[in-house]
């Protein structure tokens, strides 16, 4: 019976998407950077309808989900903005899936959660740039290799963790979401706060990832960049297959 409020919430949400989303699209309201009391109130409504069954009616946490006090707007923007929240089913890890809310709704929920206690904010556009004279790709690459590559792979192809968990591939993830993941540490990812990696460091890391995404692999076809397993399989099938074919031809008599 615990899922019932969620189901009701979903119906409400559908109604909101159809009415509110349509209204927003038609009027093209310019969103203010500072969250207004109205936005927080709207966020609280959405929160109660969609999140409260697991996170508690005041975001204090419940059996299904952790406390959201102090997680900040960045957390909400990442979790809801990548479709990981609302969660589909419990398991080792929540998956990325189609986003369930509009930009305005996510911003409202983020404003509400941010109003509970101070936490990481949604990053400034200045730190989401991937081009510019002050961006140091080499530095970003070094930081990525020191802090991130052990889980996410040297070119961000992702990798396995313990007991069914995994570090997701970073290709196609928006600059904002990468930044928010670093600053909030979603699920089992550790936190990289601004004292560890400054906003400039984070910007360089994101720029490096985007560079890798946009440029061809130097070594030719990268076989998903997952390293020796894929490469070994290729050699076993095609390399050894070629050698066996030649051996058969060598041993066969001419017609």
């Amino acid at each position: 019976m615990r899922r019932r409020p969620w189901a009701i919430g979903f119906v409400i949400f559908l109604g909101l998407v159809l009415s509110g989303g349509g209204y927003a699209a038609a009027t093209n309201v310019v969103q203010s950077e500072v969250s207004s009391a109205d936005q927080v109130a709207e966020g609280r409504k959405l929160f109660l309808a969609n999140c409260a069954s697991c996170h508690g009616s005041n975001g204090e946490g419940a059996i299904g989900g952790p406390s959201l006090i102090g997680v900040g707007a960045a957390s909400v923007d990442f979790q809801v903005g990548t479709g990981r929240m609302p969660g589909q089913a419990s398991g080792p890890q929540l998956y990325k899936k189609p986003v369930q809310f509009t930009e305005e709704q996510i911003a409202a929920m983020a404003a509400y959660v941010a109003s509970l206690a101070p936490g990481p904010a949604i990053p400034d556009a200045e730190y989401l740039r991937t081009t510019g004279d002050d961006i140091d790709l080499t530095h970003g690459s070094e930081l990525f290799r020191i802090n991130c590559a052990m889980c996410h792979n040297a070119v961000g192809a992702g990798g396995a963790l313990t007991e069914g968990k995994f570090a997701p591939a970073l290709g196609g993830v928006t600059e904002k979401h990468i930044y928010e993941a670093m600053v909030t540490g979603p699920q089992n990812m550790p936190v990289f706060n601004d004292a560890n990696l400054t906003p400039e460091d984070k910007r360089d890391i994101i720029a490096y990832l985007k560079w890798v995404e946009e440029n061809d692999s130097v070594g030719g076809y990268e076989l998903a960049s997952i390293g020796p397993v894929a490469e070994g399989l290729f050699v076993w099938i095609f390399g050894l297959g070629f050698i066996i074919a030649i051996t058969v031809w060598l041993g066969a008599k001419a017609n």
Binding site: I146, G159, T162, F192, N193, N196, K253
Partner: protein
């Protein structure tokens, strides 16, 4: 009596009354190229084409080298690709041509060579024994004990200089496996090729991970030595909710307000263990999946590692920076036979 003629009690041995008969040589099959002059000419042309491909391949390899001067990373790829294709064609063209030539045009009459008897004839054996006996009698090897024994002694001592000389090649391992450059008061700094900056305890927020090296690493001038020392001294710094730490009372002073530091070098075969999960506190080694529970003194909970990752005792200096209380109390990295002896 040959093997076939022997009789065996029923049920004891396999029946070898009817061994597989010698199939002999297969009947000769005449090749197309032997039957028809046209086919032979065709094969000749095919072989010439293969050798021709080899020549073209060689030029492709030269073109690949010349046409892609290395100005960017992409040029490296294209140059290497075309040189590789060219060289492969060049080599394979000669190889395939030669084999095709041998198979289609060179004589194909069957030849059989009988195997030699493996055993040396008795006559030759007797001769060899006679030679040895004569040599023994003439040299007095058996009779003159003093000579024989002193020769044994000389042969035994002879290799010793080599052992001493080769044993002295390269530096002695000494106690390098047992110590790192961590010392009391050495600051923990961020891993960076530029030397790294020190870390304040207040900067290590809950769930944070810092990849750390000792501050005195940057004082090492020699690059090789620096890498050797870094390979032993690398540390992972994490803050865990103090209530979630299962601390041994004897080691309770090794952490600082939930901040713990562990060697990043796996105790299995020395891979860098750095895959940390914030909520399960699992620390995973990517090489062989050894998993350590960071909240429980890095106890091994899965995989081939045999002992926990050594913990670096830390404290905070007067300026609030994290410093080591001293070196690790046990060797870092893969275990070895006398690891427990200090």
């Amino acid at each position: 009596m040959s093997e076939i003629e022997k009789t065996y009690p029923a049920g004891l041995a396999t029946n070898i009354q009817k061994p597989i008969s010698d199939p002999g040589i297969e009947p000769h099959r005449v090749r197309m190229t032997d039957k028809s002059e046209k086919a032979a000419r065709g094969a000749e042309q095919q072989i010439a084409v293969m050798f021709g491909i080899s020549i073209v391949g060689a030029f492709i390899a030269i073109w690949g080298f010349v046409a892609f001067p290395i100005n960017s990373l992409a040029d490296t790829r294209n140059g290497a690709l075309w040189m590789g294709i060219g060289m492969a064609l060049s080599l394979l063209g000669i190889g395939f041509g030669a084999v095709h030539w041998a198979k289609t045009l060179m004589p194909d009459h069957e030849v059989s060579e009988a195997r030699h008897q493996a055993r040396t004839p008795d006559e030759a054996r007797a001769q060899a024994i006679a030679i040895i006996k004569t040599a023994d009698a003439e040299s007095g090897f058996t009779r003159r004990k003093l000579i024989r024994r002193s020769l044994y002694g000389a042969l035994a001592v002879f290799p010793i200089p080599a052992l001493v000389i080769f044993g002295d090649l390269g530096p002695q391992v000494g106690d390098t496996l047992k110590h790192t450059i961590w010392k009391k008061g050495v600051r923990l700094v961020r891993d960076s090729h530029e030397g790294g900056t020190p870390i304040k305890a207040s900067e290590v927020t809950l769930g944070s991970v810092f990849h750390v090296v000792p501050e005195n690493l940057k004082d090492i001038e020699d690059h090789g030595e620096k890498l050797n020392q870094k390979a032993k001294a690398a540390v992972l710094l994490v803050r865990v909710e103090p209530s979630e730490l299962k601390e041994d009372p004897a080691k309770a002073s090794w952490s600082y307000d939930g901040i713990v530091a562990y060697s990043k070098i796996c105790t299995h075969v020395g891979c860098p263990v750095a895959l940390y999960e914030q909520h399960t506190h699992h620390l995973l080694c990517p090489c062989h999946q050894s998993t350590f529970d960071l909240a429980d003194h890095c106890k091994v909970i899965f995989g081939p590692a045999a002992r926990p990752l050594p913990q670096l005792a830390i404290e905070v200096d007067a300026e609030g920076y994290l410093v080591a209380q001293g070196d690790f109390t046990e060797p870092v990295g893969p275990s070895f036979w006398d690891i427990r002896q200090s």
